[in-house]
């Protein structure tokens, strides 16, 4: 066992170190040595003082945590019910709902925030249509939490639905027979059995909401709601740049996430949640019966709030001749699409670049994530918890800081050869940033699967690698595929790392859209977003339906 194990552990560990550990290390170095980027180690620890100097730090930390907890709560409220229904019942159009709930990830957060602003602010679309002005709500703590929740709740939806597919009805049946009402069986048995998945998804939500900048920046600035990440971005937003200060702030965020991770890890490993045993049970989902349409209505409601409204706002904006013209038929115009098709080559280049980057990222993260998860859950070494913890950090570090870390690491003059300056660095950055999704999802999934299934493969003559490939990976597949789709969606529009790392001359969808915004062409930006969203969700839909066709077995994701 030892050899195969150590080869795989080595693979997983080196992947993590290269993709995550290296940038994190350089960020730490930058935090400690303010002149590090210039190759100098003078003034060690001097920047750490900003932590003590900043009297608003406590307020910011409190706001950050309050926001994160509100968003976690919101994600549970929105994502849990539909996730449970999707996992346990035949929901009409399940595969289509999956794609619908991926759409929030296809919309860059800063665009979503603008879309909400244009819908709800005074004289926004809602006002123009119905005379309702919800600006007061939107530009408040609640509004920020609301919009961030809508960006993130699908994480819970996917994690919970995939976990419950494995738990199935078997354990709940046993509870029912022993006197539990359906709701009791759910609360006492089914739900606790999906705790690893819920905790994992909430950990990502936590990390994302303390790291997310676009939404608080767009909505919260005017209410004076400061979060930690605001400070980090301010340090990097204009001349003079303060890399070191930003790094120090990021260290603070990383610490928070590590604490959250430790808590999550404690919850998920304190007990056993193995629901996939060596005696397979029929995982056929239950029929909803008369509840069919009310459930569809619930899905539709969640989709309407979380997807349809922002998407419509984006679409409407992209078709508006002028924004000041408002919602008038005479103001509707396709002219903002023409520059996209005119500059054809550039927009197309951006779409193609983002497309292949997203595909490669999805597959690489799934592969590496699956491997890391496997080592973390099934391995024996001491370093497993370290690997696990390391793997959540990218989510906690503001993307721009992570990008700086990647530059510091990969642009070092001492490297004999480097990917920096090629498209490869973008791939590395994307994988590093998005690795937490498959790892969290797969770790949660593996905690549900009995180890004897792996053992049986080994005994049957499979090397650890082949057991992984033929047994463990396929068993993880439903969760890994869900994570891959998330990764694909996010990678297809990633912005910040792309701006910072793309070799000069290369464009992605995110940078293209951002550039349009920058020069005041809001509508063209929205138009490009619409095109990208349509294309990507189309691809996701086709893939999803194809997977459904493949999943003819009783065991499908």
């Amino acid at each position: 066992m030892a050899r195969g194990q150590s080869v795989l552990t080595l693979l997983a560990a080196s992947a993590l170190v290269i993709l995550v550990g290296l940038p994190v290390l350089f960020i730490l170095l930058q935090a400690v040595f303010p002149e590090f980027a210039r190759g100098s180690f003078v003034g060690a620890f001097s920047k750490l003082l900003i932590l003590t100097e900043n009297d608003r730090l406590l307020v910011q930390a409190r706001n950050t945590l309050m926001l994160a907890f509100s968003v976690m709560l919101g994600c549970l409220i929105l994502g849990l019910p539909i996730g449970v229904l999707r996992g346990l019942f035949h929901v009409p159009g399940a595969r289509i709902w999956d794609v619908v709930f991926l759409i929030p990830f296809l919309i860059p957060p800063f665009i979503a925030a603008i879309a909400w602003m244009m819908t709800l602010q005074p004289r926004g679309y809602l006002f123009q249509l119905l005379g309702v002005d919800m600006g007061r709500f939107l530009f408040s703590f609640a509004g920020v939490a609301f919009v961030m929740t809508l960006n993130l709740f699908p994480l819970v939806y996917f994690a919970v639905s995939r976990a419950l597919e494995t738990v199935g009805g078997r354990f709940a049946s046993a509870a029912r027979v022993h006197g539990a009402r359906p709701m009791q069986a759910f609360v006492l048995i089914t739900l606790p059995l999906s705790i690893p998945a819920i905790a994992a998804s909430l950990l990502i939500v936590f990390a994302m909401s303390i790291e997310e900048f676009g939404t608080p920046a767009a909505l919260a600035a005017r209410t004076g709601l400061e979060v930690l990440v605001t400070g980090i971005y301010t340090r990097l937003s204009d001349w003079p740049i303060d890399l070191s200060g930003a790094a120090v702030g990021s260290v603070l965020l990383m610490t928070m996430v590590l604490v959250a991770f430790a808590l999550q890890n404690w919850i998920a490993t304190r007990r056993s949640y193995i629901s996939q045993t060596g005696k397979p049970s029929d995982l056929e989902k239950a029929d909803l019966g008369a509840w069919r349409w009310p459930v569809v209505a619930l899905f539709a409601l969640v989709a309407a709030i979380g997807v349809v409204i922002p998407l419509t706002a984006i679409a409407v904006t992209s078709f508006m001749g002028t924004i000041s013209g408002g919602l008038n038929w005479s103001n509707f115009d396709t002219r903002h699409y023409t520059p996209i098709f005119q500059t054809g080559s550039r927009a197309a280049q951006a779409l193609v670049t983002s497309g292949w980057l997203a595909v490669l990222t999805a597959f690489s993260t799934a592969l590496i994530g699956g491997l890391v998860a496997y080592i973390v859950v099934r391995g024996t070494g001491r370093g497993r918890a370290v690997m696990d913890g390391l793997s959540v950090l990218p989510n906690a570090i503001p993307a721009i800081v992570l990008a700086v870390g990647i530059i510091l690491a990969w642009n070092s003059p001492f490297l004999p050869l480097t990917l920096y300056g090629t498209a490869g660095i973008l791939l590395i950055a994307y994988i590093g940033i998005l690795l937490p999704y498959p790892i969290r999802y797969a770790v949660a999934r593996l905690r549900q699967i009995s180890g004897s299934l792996d053992d049986a493969a080994r005994v049957a003559g499979a090397t650890q690698m082949r057991a992984l490939r033929h047994v463990t990976l396929p068993l993880m597949a439903p969760s890994l595929i869900a994570a891959m789709m998330l990764v694909f969606a996010i990678a297809s529009r990633e912005l910040v790392a792309s701006i910072m790392l793309a070799p000069a001359g290369m464009r992605t969808v995110g940078t293209f859209v951002f550039a349009q915004f920058e020069q005041g062409s809001v509508q063209t930006g929205m138009a490009m977003s619409m095109i990208a969203i349509t294309l990507t969700s189309g691809i996701l839909l086709v893939v999803n339906l194809w997977l459904a066709r493949q999943g003819t077995s009783a065991f499908s994701g």
């Binding site: 190759g39 602010q121 920046a217 937003s237 003079p240 070799p503 005041g520």
Partner: protein, 299 residues
């Protein structure tokens, strides 16, 4: 042979310059375009192993400091002869110039303002936005410049604007967007060229430069000392400062750096420009931002 060009500001301009330059010289230009912050963060992170040849920033101060740190190559393009003296230096030169202005939504139902101080009027209560000096170099320059022109009064002005419920939602685009849709009516201190462009494309906004004076934001163009390809870099700077290059700059509604090239909008000579001593202001940056925060954003 290729050239790497990092630039803040309009991507279209960068692409147009790159294409035209390549057409003329056969040297391909790889463009990296972002916000000033992104360009500078990238330059800084790459400092151990610089990648860029030519850089354009939206903040004159950044050029001043990079020169002090010895990062810039000395080069004064022959084409810079027509560039006014205060827009050039031995190591950097303006690519184009923008000014800070008020942007007014003509459909907003509030009277057209003509002076900065007009916006303290009750009519503009809760209808004014301003870019955040902490996040936008030009907004910072405006505050600093008005302080030069008005002295302590600027703080009184800002306090009254704040009392009039002016909001400071973030960088330039964030301040402009609510005005376009009509949620707000006027931007205090917008970068002008973007709004000129939007007005030209039919948005019902007007760019108003107060008679009393405003600040201009020249965009320094510089060649990095570390460039591996100084000839190409110099050729590129020459090209940007050529008439053809400056026409491209003008097409973005900026003021060309060269006095002899017409802009599409009022030029430097039509404005009352407040002179700002960049070095002195840069030294007081923290202080000014802290005071701004205390006065306006209550942070």
């Amino acid at each position: 042979d290729t050239l790497t060009f990092y630039t803040a500001g309009p991507g279209d301009l960068a692409d147009a310059l790159a294409e035209a330059f390549e057409a003329e010289t056969g040297i391909a230009v790889n463009v990296f375009q972002g916000t000033t912050g992104q360009v500078m963060a990238r330059l800084e992170a790459e400092e151990a192993n610089p990648q860029a040849d030519v850089v354009v920033s939206a903040s004159w101060g950044s050029a001043v400091e990079m020169h002090e740190r010895g990062l810039l190559m000395e080069y004064l393009s022959p084409n810079a002869a027509e560039v006014p003296d205060f827009l050039k230096h031995s190591h950097y030169v303006a690519q184009g110039v923008s000014a800070l202005a008020m942007v007014w939504n003509t459909q907003s139902g509030v009277p057209r303002p003509s002076e900065w101080t007009d916006l303290t009027d009750e009519a503009y209560r809760d209808l004014v936005t301003m870019p955040d000096p902490a996040q936008s170099g030009s907004a910072f320059d405006l505050v600093a410049g008005l302080e030069v022109a008005m002295g302590e009064e600027v703080w009184d002005l800002l306090a009254r604007l704040s009392a009039n419920d002016m909001i400071v939602p973030g960088p330039n685009a964030a301040a402009l967007n609510p005005v376009l849709q009509g949620a707000k009516a006027v931007v205090f201190g917008a970068v002008d060229y973007i709004s000129y462009g939007q007005a030209a494309s039919g948005e019902t906004i007007e760019v108003i430069v107060p008679e009393s004076g405003t600040v201009i934001a020249p965009r320094p163009m510089m060649i990095l000392q570390s460039t591996a390809n100084p000839e190409a870099a110099q050729a590129f700077v020459d090209f940007v400062l050529s008439e053809a290059g400056q026409e491209l700059v003008a097409a973005t509604w900026m003021m060309p750096a060269r006095a002899d090239v017409e802009g599409l909008r009022p030029g430097i000579n039509d404005l009352t420009v407040i002179e700002v001593d960049e070095d002195a202001v840069a030294a007081r940056r923290e202080e000014i931002i802290a005071r701004f925060n205390a006065t306006v954003t209550n942070r």
